[in-house]
Symmetry: C2
Subunit: 431 residues, 2 copies
């Protein structure tokens, strides 16, 4: 956000994002397109995109002169018809919004949040060499606003596109909640017959360090050459542009606010890595694509909550929200513990038929409530543990399990059964 | 926990933990001390400690014979007076409980949760070579039961021991909530003049892989040779026994449920590493010890909560617990976002004078609400961000700040000022 005084000055000049400006400071003149404020710049630093394509920051003082050369041109979005290439597989991009979807638009300095087929193909022309690409914009929102309803519409669209002939689905998505959406699609789409890949960008493409197009290309390659069915997230594996990780959708978490390699598989290796030339190294065999139909089971019980245990957590304060829920996921401490003073509340909830699922706020490792007394008391109260499942995935799965079963016992059994790679099989770990 | 049938059988025999058993299976006899059930063993596997000191697991079938040779002897705890060695610094161990405190006791199979001076010195005799060691048991609880009151008593005890002449304080602590306690002591003890080191064990000492004594020795060495004041956590840095990391108390988080190197510094390097010979490599200069008095400012406002934002979070459900609090820490998604539908509630809270602090559930990286619209709306609503501070540390600091200031503005300013290394200085990051 530009500082108040700089914003005021730009407003008075009639300068908006995309305006062509001439800025003169200390006798030096720069001409370029006004860009949104850069997250790492001070509020009085004006960002303009100069001819070279790079962004330049100029600290504006009262002595700096700013002149508007041109208003932004409303870009005519030419929908160049892309020629269908026989023999190539068909990929469908389903746009949802986020940094990656403002991809092409930032190049011009104008903000068009949506993604069109030609934008896409023009931006990453190499994709045309390996696939026919269709694109559709389902919604265009920042991912922090992604909600359960969006997951449902998205799952339905994925199934529809697969059943209409897509060989792979690529879902550009804001990174903030991409892990949650990936988990939701994993359960809703079950044994999906084709690859469904979520992808984001940590840097918008107006920045030289953007990861948008290389991530997209990695997705296309994994869909076309990998030929593995399932729900995945593909992002940079390192801070360079030379390695991409393919994560299981139910095992992945955003572990850094800004790094390009922010997404990590937790408690498992990534399914595969791709190098910069698109060579795929699989770490597990995975499931081959099939010609089955895709089915979306999208019912979700929204009356679920996710809580992290912390010292000083007051059971009296949380009683109401726990007792009003159908399902509760708690990220306990260590092996999954909460303070003993929480146990009576958990018992009351379990007695009422609320499903209480225990995970660990350590994220890595797995729960085990058999080791210490508090844990045993929690088990006696009726909670269940889900080993090495992420708290966020457990929350999503619980909503899905509650809506797709008919008894509490069935929900508990389902929660403790691996459905989409989200947890280790208890038979292999309880040795 | 042993299986129901095995527990029943042991009970009928009068066998309790610490009993000496003779177990015969398939013609092979083993004699040893009955141990608590091992967390990684199946429930029908009986664990006995044999003469060599190792634990043996025997899968008990109906054909297996079990005989009780001796009941456990209530161990006489000889408090061998430890000779004071002139010229050596004085370390004080303040016991709180946890796996590390059941250290010596597991060797005998009997459960004595507390730690005495002679137990300690006998267990890690090398400590006597470098320091005079006093020990006191403040409480003996599992760390998931550690509460705000315990933090307060602990801080007071630390200050008292330092003012009574301790050159360093070692606090054996359960690992589950050790990060929270370390953060609490960091703020309560402020510019503490001596090293205050929290230490845990991920494996109790009856197990060959125990990290208890090597972690303790590393603490003693860091206190005596490092001579740096401040609150730290020392644990294994690798899964081997060859490297120990010294973490800033306000920057450390348990990131694995069971690994010995579970504790990680987040967003900073560890302060120092120690190798197996006790050589200290400092990564920052740190503060030298002084002869000042220690002061414990232990007031805490308990009416604070910690919440993680997740898609589907219902503002109506959380309204009551937020509005009833004095301080709220939210681990938002990505740069610190929540769904737009949460913003009116945050505004209502801020308008009422509740301090709302935004952190990131990514844990790594730092918040920035200036980049996207939702973030700007959150800032307009009155929330504050605390950059790269851990959510858990922000929660602890908020309790402390609310109790040690007289206005909301002062709390906000304090939250955004590094006090104990818990965050980067905004002047160095908002460039």
């Amino acid at each position: 956000m530009y500082s108040e005084s700089l914003s005021k000055r730009l407003e008075d000049l009639g300068a908006v994002e995309g305006s062509r400006l001439s800025v003169t400071k200390d006798g030096r003149n720069s001409v370029g397109t006004l860009m949104p404020h850069h997250e790492f710049s001070a509020p009085d630093v004006l960002i303009i995109k100069v001819k070279s394509g790079y962004n330049v920051g100029i600290r504006v003082t009262p002595e700096t002169t700013i002149e508007v050369l041109e208003k932004p041109v409303e870009r005519v979005r030419k929908e160049t018809p892309v020629e269908f290439q026989k023999g190539l597989p068909k990929l469908v991009l389903i746009g949802t919004g986020g940094t990656i979807a403002s991809y092409v638009d930032y190049r011009t300095g104008a903000v068009h949040p949506a993604l069109s087929t030609s934008d896409m193909v023009n931006a990453v022309p190499e994709i045309r060499e390996i696939a026919n690409v269709d694109a559709t914009v389902l919604f265009s929102i920042f991912s922090e606003n992604m909600d359960v309803d969006h997951w449902q519409r998205l799952a339905e669209e994925v199934a529809k596109q697969i059943n209409d002939g897509a060989d792979g689905i690529i879902i550009p998505h804001g990174t903030d909640t991409m892990g949650y959406t990936a988990a939701a699609l994993s359960f809703m789409l079950g044994d999906v017959p084709k690859p469904v890949v979520l992808v984001g960008a940590q840097r918008s493409s107006d920045r030289p360090s953007s990861d948008a197009s290389s991530n997209l290309m990695a997705c296309a390659r994994f869909c076309v050459k990998g030929k593995k069915s399932g729900v995945y997230v593909i992002m940079h594996d390192t801070s360079g542009d030379d390695s991409f990780a393919v994560h299981i959708g139910s095992r992945v978490r955003k572990m850094h606010t800004s790094r390009r390699d922010a997404f990590h598989s937790i408690n498992v290796l990534p399914v595969a890595h791709l190098d910069k030339d698109g060579k795929i190294e699989m770490h597990i065999e995975g499931h081959e694509v099939t010609s089955e139909k895709a089915v979306a089971r999208t019912a979700m019980e929204k009356s679920c909550i996710l809580l992290q245990y912390y010292p000083g957590m007051d059971p009296a304060l949380f009683e109401d929200i726990i007792m009003r829920s159908k399902g509760v996921v708690i990220a306990g401490s260590g092996l999954g513990h909460v303070n003993s003073n929480m146990v009576p509340l958990l018992k009351k909830a379990c007695d009422k038929g609320i499903v209480v699922v225990i995970t660990s706020q350590c994220l890595n490792g797995r729960t085990n409530l058999n080791v210490y007394n508090t844990g045993r008391d929690m088990l006696s109260a009726g909670v269940i543990t889900v080993w090495d499942m992420l708290p966020e995935t457990a929350y999503v799965k619980l909503m899905w399990a509650l809506a797709n079963t008919s008894s509490v016992e069935e929900v508990k059994e389902l929660m403790r059964t691996p459905l989409a790679g989200e947890m280790s099989d208890r038979r292999t770990i309880d040795v």
